[in-house]
Amino acid sequence: MHQFLQQVFSGLAAGAVYASLALALVMIYRATDLVNFAQGEMAMFSTYIAWTLVNAGLPFWGAFLITLAVSFVGGMAVERIVIRPVENAPILTAVVVTIGLLLIFNSLAGWIYSYTLQEFPSPFPDRTLFGALMTTRDLGVIAVTLMMLVALFCFFRFTATGLAMRAAAQNPESARLCGIPVGWMLAVGWGFAAAIGAVAGIMVAPVLFLDPNMMSGVLLYAFTGALLGGITSPIGAVIGGLIVGVTENLVGTYLIASQLKLTVALILIIIVLVFRPNGLFGTAVVRRV
């Protein structure tokens, strides 16, 4: 039982990272019907920025905040420069563009930072809590993710810009008629997604070690989480990500060799697509004709 709970907690910590990246995927999907396959590599690149800043001697949380800001601006720039030109193109074209972005960020990171594994510092002390039930690191990851989620929730729920972004995602044409600059709202959405991804990357890097391919597995789990949650539901994405994290950890501990854990994600994707194509939370809003 003790081991089981231990695995659940560390699964939640991993799941918090998947949940963050899943949330980033869902934000962009809702606004543009586009799955951003480059989300993981953008997060990886952000993590390298944080790594560079920490190595340059900045305190961890200073580097963290600067990285979020840089990622936000970078995400906006990617939308304006790369995505905007294919805005009205067939969706497949845009998907191919994000796959291209994935390759570009991956090669760019390899070229600048090389493909060797780098150690990434954890901001949390390495201790265990509650009779070794969980580690401070896992708890720290969960806490940071929670704080980010609360901040995002407040932004979208209570600010005029947050509301305008939701309006733009839901009905762009009508939003324009209300004077909302929809194009900029999309760019800000990409900025948020990039910053959320940066948090995920920084949180997972101390565990996985930093290298240009660090996020490929994480992206797959995040994608599974997003699908599980119904791809259009932010809350669904978070819960889906957590479920994937816990499942992955338990299955890896009790059922199959942990090297095969990634298959869990694939199996989950297939199960979801077959039995609940709309995911757990992908129910449509109340509609009346």
Binding site: R166, A167, G179, V285, R288
Partner: protein, 235 residues
């Protein structure tokens, strides 16, 4: 009286095909102009041209400004509030959120406008926390009009507000629109299939057929025109 909106020889296009072939139209400051026409005549396209949602040629003047090169969101910012065909409701958001979105381009205080709208449409105040998609058709139309008015516009553009609604509901809504026009000094451009009701309220009227204005004049003159009576009023 001066015109707040004026279209001069406006053409509009979907891709290569020309749908409006040179339209002249005016809305008097503080007045109500109605645009009539059969299905497919180009009424919606005219409204879309005004708001920069289709490619157009010719001149579109609003309060002394040229609108042709402006984006839809800029035009909204100038004070043109457009309730599009299908109402443009944000169905996944609450009634109150819909109203707050309408106030995005407003310069005044959104809260005051909201109270004003709840005064005109008390049902919306009751339903403020409900999801907009769960409202009845009539309530959704009221919400759409209230949303548009949240920006304190100078021109309210309505595309078939009576569509799919029971006659009693339509009369109630038109009554409120007429009250708002007088009390808030907002000019109205109305597209309607319900010609008799629209002509009774409006001061100017235009009849559109396949992209041309075929008749225009005072609403009263059009209501008395025997041909229009036969084709559009049915008596």
């Amino acid at each position: 009286m001066a015109a707040i909106l004026e279209l001069r020889a406006v053409k509009a296009f979907y891709g290569q095909s020309e749908v409006l072939h040179g339209i002249d139209l005016a809305v008097e400051e503080g007045g109500m102009t109605v645009l009539l026409g059969a299905n497919g005549a180009g009424k919606t396209t005219t409204l879309r041209a005004i708001c920069g949602m289709v490619r157009s040629e010719g001149q579109i003047l609003f309060a002394g400004r040229r609108l042709e090169r402006c984006t839809t969101e800029q035009i909204a910012g100038f004070g043109v509030a457009h309730v599009p065909e299908g109402r443009g409701t944000f169905i996944g958001l609450t009634v109150e959120e819909n109203l707050r979105i309408g106030a995005y381009a407003a310069t005044g205080r959104p809260h005051d406008n909201m109270q004003l709208m709840y005064g005109y449409f008390p049902i919306l105040a009751q339903r403020r926390r409900q999801q907009a998609g769960a409202l009845s058709g009539g309530e959704q139309q009221m919400l759409a009009i209230a949303r548009a008015l949240m920006m304190s516009p100078r021109l309210l553009v309505l595309d078939e507000p009576s569509f799919g609604l029971a006659p009693r509901v339509v009369e109630a809504i038109f009554g409120i629109v007429e009250r708002i026009r007088r009390e808030q000094h907002v000019s109205v451009l109305l597209v309607e299939q319900n010609a008799s009701l629209a002509l009774a309220m409006a001061d100017r009227a235009y009849l559109l057929e396949t992209g041309y204005v075929v008749t225009s004049g005072s609403a009263k003159a059009l209501a008395d025109d025997p041909q229009i009576r036969r084709s559009y009023l049915g008596y």
